[in-house]
Symmetry: C2
Subunit: 223 residues, 2 copies
């Protein structure tokens, strides 16, 4: 049985942010913090924070605030960051290269063990001390190096066939930057999507909605 | 007054996905689709889709389904994608380069007009037909080229001072890839965050929670 099965999805979604803030506090040598101080830093209400942190024991003492390191470690445990899931990256283009070089996988519970591309000119080039492997060798590589997680940084049209190969290899966990909806294709996989185009459209909505231009309304009235 | 002020945030969040799917249907020459067909493609229930689309007029006719192009254009209007917000990108590293080359800004309501970096070795290099400008020239550039939106692809420690400069220049809209929480610093700005580390931690949680290893529980019991 899991200790934290009572934590709601919205609280889970906030945990990475708590984890980042608490990490900064530790870097700054701060050992205890009150929910009021934390709320000021994070732009949440103190009661919201107390509610969230009470979901998993709290670590708060009346008048003493929270143990920064205690909370940090506990949230890390809850997120499972002390794992080291063996991860392969599919796609060594601009986005794949950015993800490979930009992310601190080890601190987030993952270990990048392979990078693949079907572009022969990229094969052999080294990114983050990993030589890019020919996508044709995916099966051989995965037989020799069991992988738990695959990251998709390839165009949408390329995803389905590669996803089928990875699924056959037993990989069920995906960090998906493509706009292919993997969870529609497979119902027994775990997917976390990063849909940059969707995020950009949401920004466009927020800006347009806030400015609410006259021509926008004329256009809407016409439609 | 805005025509669509009754649309709830969760519906708004689903609109980009609808928009993508409808765009594909148009590419495939499909002119009408039933909520049942759309639900099968999108992994939502037909009633969920009917509820969502009814929020803004529906475009559905009993027995005829939805007009694909009508819905596509309407959702595009709601999202404000027929704008062309003048956008600058701060940071021409791996991530900035990936964002600049990877995103179809024009189709999402934005126009990339400038790219900035403080690394002199990057200044002058051309990304997506735009020469990288020295960050020192940000003020001069923005006086000559009004910008509506800034994209942050710089490390967290660099954000605050650049954000202050952009704020002074009147920029209030941000697409933020850094882990700096801009909305805590300013309360009158529009921010859409892409926090890749948070997304990776959520994936780690989903995997750990699903597998729920024994040693995980032992560890939790110890804590």
């Amino acid at each position: 049985m899991h200790k934290y099965e009572n934590i709601s999805a919205p609280v889970i979604k906030r945990l990475p942010r708590y984890y980042r803030f608490l990490g900064e506090l530790m870097d700054n040598g701060i050992t205890r913090i009150s929910s009021k101080e934390l709320s000021a830093k994070m732009g949440l209400t103190a009661s919201q924070i107390r509610q969230d942190l009470n979901c998993f024991g709290g670590f708060g003492q009346q008048g003493y605030g929270y143990s920064v390191e205690g909370l940090y470690n506990e949230i890390g445990h809850i997120l499972g960051l002390d794992h080291s899931y063996r991860t392969i990256l599919i796609g060594a283009g601009n986005l794949g290269k950015a993800v490979a070089t930009h992310m601190s996988f080890e601190k987030r519970g993952f270990k990048l063990v392979g990078i693949f591309d079907n572009d022969k000119s990229k094969v052999g080039s080294v990114i983050r001390d990993i030589a890019v492997t020919d996508l044709d060798d995916l099966e051989d590589f995965c037989k020799d190096n069991a992988a738990d997680v695959a990251i998709f940084c390839v165009p949408k049209y390329a995803v389905a066939s590669i996803a089928d190969r990875l699924y056959k290899l037993g990989i069920r966990n995906f960090w998906n930057f493509s706009h292919y909806d993997l969870s529609v294709r497979y119902d027994d996989i775990i997917v976390e999507n990063v849909h940059l185009n969707d995020s950009l459209m949401i920004l466009c909505y927020k800006i347009s909605d806030a400015h609410d231009e006259p021509e926008n309304d004329q256009r809407n009235n016409k439609s």
